[in-house]
Amino acid sequence: MRVFRFTWLFALLLIGALVLASCPAPAAPAAPAADQAAAAPTEEAHAEEAAEPTAEPAAEVEAMEFKIGLVTDVGRINDRSFNQSAWEGVLKAQADLGLTDEDVKYIETQDTKDYADNMAQFIDAGYNVIVTVGFALGDATTEAAKNNPDIIFIGVDQFQGEALPNLAGLIFHEDQSGYLAGVLAASMSKSGTVAAVLGTDLVPPVVAFNEGYIAGAKSVNPDITVISTYHPGEISQAFVDPEWGAATAKQAIDQGADVIFGAGGITGNGALQEVATHEGLYCIGVDTDQWETVPAAQPCLISSAMKLITPATAELIAQAQDGSFAGGNVFGAAGLADFHDFDSVIPQEVKDLLATTKAGLDDGSISTGYGN
């Protein structure tokens, strides 16, 4: 074989060596953990923040062996949305419980068919708590919970039809979030007309946001006009149609709306971005703090109606650890995001009103009227 020459044989060996050599180098004893922390840029702050208080108590609780795993929906851990919020909840629990970096891990799902396999990685490794993020993982989570009664499962955004003792579905009072958004919108409106651009009413949480929003707006100004429009398409389009969102927002603006609530994934983001191009109008985001997620909306974004996933996830993990965990549906808190650059624009009496409204919603003295 003429081709069997030293040159490429040598090159082959070289490449093999490169593969091997590149491996042991970073594998030096203490390196991996540090590397990992640095590897996830958006998590850096949390990881470090978590690592420091951990350092001392870690030694004492080491014998306890409490491990938390998280499986994302198809998407990234730093999606600035549900996946990230839930993971930050895990990191918060890690800090609160004094766990090490080795005790918390996540797997980013690549394919909807892999939910069960990814959970199995944690199950087989003897994890105590498994957090699964998103409605789509509901069936797989329920199945895994039934088969592994000793492991505690937390399903973010997963409504539980039947309660299992080891599975909590973390869901939210979207109507309360929407109510606060409505109070804010009506307080900031000068025209007496506000609007909501929404994903489909086929999805109950969207309806809850809207009903709460209307009730909140009317609580401030009973005569206010609320133009709320649901996307007319089916689920698979309703949340990914920014053009429709922008066009609908434009229409509402033409009808005099000066504060617009965008609630419906990318569709809602389209509405926010449209509002941002109009001088002097305000918009309100949804689910997470959209100041971070939709920078293009910053010129108008006064706040976002949030689902507070992070503290609720941390709380459920703490309950799993101390034994007070109960399955079934668990409601997480709802709230408004930071006002960011609009902090100086929003009058103090509006802030006070929002605070008392939030307190009223929390203690039950204010009802949104949704679901009754």
Binding site: L12, D35, A120
Partner: protein
């Protein structure tokens, strides 16, 4: 493999196998080295990552199960693209053919309650093939009678298939739109079909938790069938001759037009069967997001497998293993699973452009050896 095809220029059969494996293996090693470099530069632990990758793909019975499960559709779509390559045709349409096979088989699978499994299951599989054949033959017919290039037509038909399959399970909107014919009303607002009836499902092998089904045998049977068809039959000879030189084939009296249509039909049927097997064996229903990546992975797999049926099995094993190991890799090392896609893309780049590998390792081309056995005449403008 040694028996595959007429002996070309290399004297010893082992030498031929060695030579045909050389470029893909070097491409893989180079891609892995590049992946290690990327991880090293981003401060990740490459050793732990690759160890996790290997453990996740082959480290336990369950790991093997995931690898094999991921291989099954890749074998079909890889064969689909490979067969078309043999006739000098570039089938970019495996993804659409996959969806049509899925829709056809799920239609049979959710209907006809009471049929015995011995009829219901084969019927559903045959309909899956039929859906793919239909979707594959259209670009073949258009190429023959109008000269429309199959690359353009198959890409466009991918969109048609994606939208059509989505429509079949359309859940209806809020303003009274008509739902799709295959949509399951009990699914509420979610667009999906009902579950495939038990009599149309491919049974599980081993424990159900492994989720390995008899589709693995269907896949292996398809490999042997395509190998036999390509290398042991007149049709296969005609397909390969058309791929080598269409004008010469025509001059030799081969019905080139018919062969082109037939080859695209076979290619479509294989991709359609992929959809049917995934549906009847694994998903047990159809929702628009089940289309996935396998149609396009088929192109990489066919190229990496040197368009040979057995090569397709090997490259499917590789890609199945990479997909299967990704989760464990992330679990062990915290390296983002995206690195797997980088490695897969690099493998494709190196295999599709063997000049890079030849230059890197200073491999001389042997006399009489084509630069690429795979891309055929399709790009030459026949």
């Amino acid at each position: 493999m040694a028996t595959a095809g007429p002996a070309l220029s290399t004297p010893h059969p082992l030498g031929r196998i060695f030579r045909s494996l050389l470029i893909p293996v070097l491409a893989l090693l180079t891609a892995l080295a590049a992946g290690a470099l990327v991880m090293y530069l981003s401060g990740d632990d490459a050793a732990s990552a690759y160890n996790g990758l290997f453990q996740g793909a082959f480290g336990s019975a369950k790991a093997w199960a995931i690898t094999i499960r991921k291989m099954i559709p890749l074998i079909f779509t890889g064969l689909s693209v490979a067969v078309a390559f043999k006739a000098g045709l570039f089938n970019i349409g495996a993804s659409g053919q996959f969806l049509m096979g899925t829709v056809f088989s799920v239609f049979i699978g959710i209907n006809f309650e009471g049929l015995p499994p011995v009829i219901h299951l084969p019927l559903a599989l045959v309909f899956g093939i039929l859906g793919g054949v239909l979707w594959g033959a259209i670009p073949g017919i258009l190429k023959v009678y109008t000269g429309a290039h199959e690359v353009i037509v198959t890409i466009m038909l991918n969109y048609v298939a994606a939208l059509f399959s989505g429509w079949t399970v359309y859940a209806g909107g809020t303003q009274g739109q008509t739902p799709g014919p295959l949509w399951d009303p009990t699914a509420g607002p979610i667009s999906e079909t009902a579950d495939v009836l038990a009599s149309a499902r491919l049974p599980y092998l081993f424990d159900p938790s492994y989720r390995i089904h008899y589709g693995v045998f269907v896949a292996l049977a398809a490999v042997v069938f395509i190998w036999w068809l390509l290398y042991k039959t007149t049709i296969g000879f005609e397909i390969r001759t058309v791929g080598q030189n269409m004008k010469a084939a025509r001059y030799a009296g081969i019905r080139v037009n018919w062969t082109v249509i037939l080859t695209m039909g076979i290619a479509g049927g294989l991709a359609g069967l992929a959809g049917a097997v995934e549906t009847l064996g694994l998903n047990h229903k159809f929702a628009p997001e089940f289309g996935g990546q396998v149609g396009f992975d088929g192109i990489t797999i066919a190229l990496l497998g040197q368009t040979h049926p057995f090569g397709v099995v090997l490259s499917s094993l590789l890609f199945g293993a990479l997909d299967a190991g990704a989760a464990k890799m992330q679990f062990d090392s915290g390296v983002a699973a995206d690195i797997i896609q980088i490695i897969q893309a690099l493998v494709l780049a190196f295999v599709a452009a063997p000049m890079i590998i030849r230059a890197l390792y200073r491999i001389k081309r042997q006399p009489g050896e084509a630069e690429s056995t795979s891309l055929g005449t399709s790009w030459g403008g026949s």
